[in-house]
């Protein structure tokens, strides 16, 4: 009986989980941007906020693992769904005009998603892995002033800055579809809220990645 099937065995519920993890990451991005923004105004504020996030046990041992799982789940489920979807049409059309009925962003979530995944590899290499090593291998937890210097140091390299900027273009394209699509996946759609959500989605998809880009360029130019 269908009723006894596991939660993620229903295509719709896989999408539901995909949407929830996506929305969770949307909220995380906002928090990340807020902390990054302080680096433009005050190195002290940035340092103390980063130190708090980097050492608070609740953040470190509860929120961070949830976040890591959220990222991992969203990526791997995205890949699983893509494979399933490709298998659903083994023979392609010889002549097709998808641009007549859907946006490029909506059709290419896998491309923008994989680009973001590659960026995450670089980002983890730059910040997260050294952070883990410092804290968990070298055992250094109490250096409260290193964060701002680390940030400046990374954005010294124009190629790295260019890679970050490019990644945020992909993030923006991904969010343009993903943000509002998540609401549809969880069934939240009605005549009064949906137009607002679509607008909010577009604003978020432009403002947030643009914010990150500005911060990266600011630190590059400020040196």
């Amino acid at each position: 009986m269908a009723i006894n099937k596991g939660f993620l065995n229903f295509s719709i519920l896989r999408k539901f989980a995909m949407a929830l993890s996506g929305l969770f990451l949307v909220i995380f991005l906002l928090q990340h941007l807020t902390i990054n923004l302080t680096s433009v105004f005050s190195s002290d504020a940035f340092n103390s906020l980063s130190h708090f996030m980097g050492t608070n046990p609740l953040v470190q041992f509860l929120l961070q693992p949830i976040l890591a799982f959220g990222v991992f789940f969203h990526l791997s489920m995205g890949l699983v769904l893509e494979i399933k979807n490709r298998n659903a049409r083994p023979i392609k059309y010889a002549y097709s005009k998808p641009e007549e009925n859907s946006s490029w962003m909506s059709r290419n979530m896998i491309i923008t998603g994989v680009m973001i995944m590659l960026f995450l590899g670089l980002h983890f290499y730059d910040f997260w892995f050294p952070e883990l090593k410092l804290k968990f291998i070298d055992g250094i937890w109490n250096n409260e002033t290193r964060y701002f210097i680390e940030l400046q140091h990374k954005f010294h390299d124009p190629i790295r800055v260019a890679l970050y900027v490019l990644s945020f273009v992909f993030l923006s394209l991904h969010l343009m579809h993903g943000f509002q699509s998540a609401f549809q996946s969880i069934g939240f759609r009605n005549k009064s809220y949906t137009p607002f959500i679509k607008k909010l989605s577009s604003i978020y998809a432009i403002v947030v990645p643009f914010g990150f880009v500005c911060i990266a360029i600011y630190h590059f130019l400020a040196q």
Partner: protein, 246 residues
């Protein structure tokens, strides 16, 4: 009008097919697309060649059997019409028109432009019904008051003709628009309440079993659907399934 047609030809389900080129001349702009296909088939028969197999029945946008992927879109470039309602005035003299069958693992080609859509029938069989006694003493449906909005939404959902253009248009070959229309038309009405949970679970389960892809909300289905079935139905089915499961 003189036209060049590039059409998918495939002898049978197991054969490998290919796009073949044909020329037709003196096509009237008042003809329907299927009438143009009839002209081509007459021509092929006169030449002693095998005519092109395609599905059709009502030829007035009701049965949902005509199914052609025309110039890169299901049911062609017009909106809100089936292939049989598409007129040749949508094309220009000298045009090349590409015609393919629906492409989906769940809709295998039987011959030329004809695909097997019995996957849809199996989805309906799994739960797209209400168990009412029809032995002659059933209650008049109008005796049950139904809010106008629900009645309208149920009616809109019920206009789905099961043509499969939503699957054909979707980059994932997802059948969500079709299934959600069928779930919605019953979930919105009092008669559909008894089997409400079981219905959505079984129909979605069958949809997955048939191998249709996962919806990624591109919205292509809604644009190409000849009956204008709304994405509202997909959101409703998502809610229905979630509440049935938890």
């Amino acid at each position: 009008m003189n036209l060049t047609l590039k059409i998918w030809r495939q002898k049978e389900a197991k054969a490998s097919g290919s796009m073949e080129t044909y020329k037709v001349s003196e096509i009237s702009e008042h003809m329907s697309f299927l009438e143009m296909m009839d002209v081509l088939n007459e021509q092929l028969i006169n030449e002693g060649k095998e005519p092109i197999a395609f599905d059709h029945d009502c030829r007035e946008g009701i049965c949902g059997s005509c199914s052609m992927y025309i110039n890169g879109e299901p049911h062609g470039p017009d909106r809100g019409v089936t292939t049989c309602q598409l007129h040749m005035r949508k094309f220009k003299d000298g045009d090349t028109i590409h015609i393919e069958p629906w492409r989906a693992a769940s809709f295998p080609v039987i011959k030329d432009l004809v695909v097997d859509r019995s996957a849809f029938d199996r989805i309906i069989q799994s739960g797209g019904y209400v168990s009412v006694n029809t032995s002659g003493n059933s209650q008049d449906a109008n005796a049950i008051p139904i809010p106008k909005e629900d009645a309208d939404n149920a009616f809109d959902a019920a206009t789905c003709i099961g043509c499969g253009a939503c699957v054909a248009a979707c980059k994932n070959s997802s059948a969500m628009l079709f299934v959600s229309a069928k779930v919605s038309q019953l979930a919105l009405l009092p008669q559909g309440q008894v089997e409400r949970k079981e219905r959505v679970l079984s129909m979605v389960d069958q949809m997955d079993t048939e191998g249709f892809g996962n919806c990624s909300n591109t919205g292509a289905c809604e644009i190409e659907c000849p009956k204008g079935i709304s994405l509202d139905n997909i959101a409703r089915m998502n809610r229905e399934l979630l509440s049935a499961k938890i």
